[in-house]
Amino acid sequence: MMTDQTLISGTPQVKRKWYQVIDPITKLLFILDMTLLSFASPNLLLQVGLILVATLLLLFSKLNSTTFKALGFSLFLIVTMLIIQGLFYSHNQTVLFSVLGISFYKEGLIYATMLGCRVLVIILTSGFFMVTTSISENAAYLEQSGLSYKTVYVLMSVCYILPEMMRNMRKIQQAQKVRGTNPQKTLIQKLKSVLPVLIPLVIKTLDQSMARSISLQLRGFDNPNRTVKTSQQYHLSRMLHISLTGLAILLIGWKIWTKINGL
């Protein structure tokens, strides 16, 4: 028996946004294709184009604080890469500029820029997937695709165990701060403060997982009568899957061919 999820939610029929009519698999294939495209060519202009496409997708979908945090962290990584490669890349030959007598080399900076662009492409496209697809939508889609609910749950559990661990860590650290045992004023103190909470953190998270497992079984999780939820209706799913998979195969083939021929 098929059950309409919209009806279950009691959600009134509202016009869906463009990114809500794209199925999760298409979005995952899109990340794969963008990543492969980025690694297919060392052309910086192509990288900039890919970043532009991914940024526009994000801007026209929705942005949230998590995306900004991920972007902020990746920009920090890229700047670090630029400094390290600009100074110490093994093929450095041409000095591009000097700051306080320290020389930055062109080859290292180009190499780091290329790496940074690829990181950005992955982060931006993954961000698009994350902000436009909910865990439950993925779960419903995978279940509808024929996976058993148990398998789906195991796959999806990763999506909530990590945030749950983060929440637990914040709670433990806050409790320590309140007691004055965890000052966390400097970066070293912050890093040091993580170590002593690791064991209670893992135990607490395991305990929560155990409680959830008990509860799910009590709630008839493995009942053979379970109905498959109908996920949202998506547009052109089959055609998009075939096209994007074809493109991925072509890009992998292209990469192998260029490697073999030394291009």
């Binding site: 028996m1 309409d4 009806l7 279950i8 939610s9 909910s134 959830r212 509860s215 709630r219 999780f221």
Partner: protein, 277 residues
């Protein structure tokens, strides 16, 4: 009496692995269909373990040594799918009961109903009904994690009652509710029909208003059971359980009912007051 119309607990003893003392010791009890039974006692008295056994968590999901027998309306835990289908359970940590895969409160309530394979129109009706009963109608489209502790507790109860269980097992279901939420919950519980309810709670005043029977747990033993009046008029001091506020007031005023007992709820207090006037 016909065993199919009772919950029967027969000499039940249970011990978790790695512990020397059993958490439950020789529990014997019976509950008639449709009754509300309040289970009270101090920490580590065995209340939650008893709930876990009756819910089938022990020994169907969590391993523990169990001796003795128990049957819910003639059904044993060995027949797990049927046993599980007839129980609705709310455990101590309500947040841990959420599936984690629902975007809305409505989806969370639907989880149990989808698991039971109900038709979609019935699912929608049940969601609306239980949400109204638990005061969650306005929250149906919210994400479960955005709810307060009390609201999550009400959601956990809503998921338990959505499947229309024959037996409802509630382990401290109001611990995180505000006074109004708690009062509304007990008001709802008073009107529950056709469901046998076993509720662990420390809200003794509220319990005395609605319970048909009260069980007192102490050191893993069921040391007293009976009507709220019988139990609270014969509390032993070593159980360290306070009498209801009404009983304490009546004791101070020496207001006794015709049978010599002190009142335990508002109706009995009124009766005593009329008698004294």
């Amino acid at each position: 009496m016909d065993e199919d119309k009772r919950i029967v607990v027969d000499n039940l003893t249970s011990r978790y692995p790695g512990t020397t003392q059993p958490q439950l010791r020789g529990i014997n009890a019976e509950v008639q269909a449709g009754q509300v039974v309040g289970i009270i006692g101090n920490s580590h008295s065995g209340k939650s373990t008893l709930c876990r056994v009756l819910a089938g968590v022990i020994s169907k999901i969590v391993s523990a040594e169990v001796e003795g027998q128990w049957r819910l309306f003639g059904r044993r835990v060995d027949d797990w799918p049927a046993y599980n289908a007839m129980t609705g359970v709310v455990l101590q940590n309500p947040a841990g009961q959420l599936s984690g895969l629902s975007d809305t409160v409505a989806d969370e309530i639907a989880f149990d109903l989808i698991n039971q394979g109900l038709a979609e129109n019935l699912i929608q009706k049940r969601i609306e009904k239980v949400a109204a009963q638990m005061g969650l109608s306005a929250q149906l489209h919210l994400h479960p994690e955005s709810l307060s502790g009390g609201q999550i507790q009400r959601l956990a109860i809503a998921t338990a009652i959505a499947t229309h269980p024959t037996v409802l097992i509630l382990d401290d279901p109001t611990s995180e509710m505000d006074p109004l939420g708690r009062r509304q919950f007990f008001h709802w519980l008073a009107g529950v029909k056709d469901t046998t309810v076993l509720i662990v709670t420390s809200e003794i005043d509220d319990l005395c208003e609605i319970a048909d029977s009260v069980w007192v747990m102490h050191d893993g033993q069921l040391v007293s059971k009976g009507t709220p009046g019988d139990v609270f008029n014969h509390l032993a001091t070593d159980w360290q359980i306070p009498a209801p506020t009404i009983t304490q007031l009546a004791q101070k005023m020496n207001w006794r009912m015709a049978d010599g007992q002190y009142p335990v709820n508002a109706a009995e207090l009124k009766e005593v007051r009329y008698a004294h006037n």
